[in-house]
Amino acid sequence: MTLPMLFIVILLLISLVFNGLGTIGLHRFPDVYTRLHAATKCTTFGTIFITFTVIAYSTRQYILTDEAKFLNMAIHTLIALAALLLTNPTGAHAIARAAHKMGIKPKKAVRDDLEEADLQKKKEVD
């Protein structure tokens, strides 16, 4: 295995570790908000690294074989990365907002700033 290939495998390993941490967090944490925190952050970061893996691989193949297919692959991976970076945090925010609106409390929480702000707003309207 040559040095660039080793670099690609190390990038893949980093992605694997972070996705695994996200999965373990999804399995082990006590309530919705902590699970969101673990799962979304770690899977987004792991997916960034897997796109880096594919970009590094296709750039290397493009330099070696000079086929346009690999440049195409790198650009498509970049577009997929941009889509993931835009959509994944937005979806997590929507889930957390829905859970809080339907009255799911964070476990062991001492104070809830968002609920206090909602109460304040209601008072001002009245």
């Binding site: 495998v9 498509h76 993931l84």
Partner: protein, 96 residues
């Protein structure tokens, strides 16, 4: 060993590592089946979809088929639409 040869060690290591993602999908499916609230199930679905698109991206690298990346992109966007729709539905109890 021609130009741009990938090597057996590299291919087997990439294939083995991408098999572990399937294990992650199985672990995340636990949250879909036994999630206490609907939001946990939705989150599990989200994570499983992201991991499936990761497998698509890895597989496109293994087989050098570029169209798998387009499938992964469409999967990510559809996952986003589904998550937003379900979150809105669970927020109010009805579509608005």
């Amino acid at each position: 060993m021609g130009k741009g040869h990938k090597g057996v060690v590299f291919m087997t290591s990439v294939a083995t590592l991408s098999l572990i993602f399937v294990l992650f999908i199985v672990i995340s499916s636990y949250r879909i089946v036994v999630g206490p609230s609907p939001y946990d199930r939705l989150l599990g679905l989200n994570v499983v979809s992201v991991l499936i698109s990761v497998i698509f991206i890895t597989f496109s690298m293994e087989t050098e088929m570029g169209f798998l990346l387009d499938i992964a992109l469409v999967f990510i966007v559809l996952n986003f639409v589904a998550t937003l729709g379900f979150a809105k539905y669970l927020e109010r109890g009805e579509f608005r």
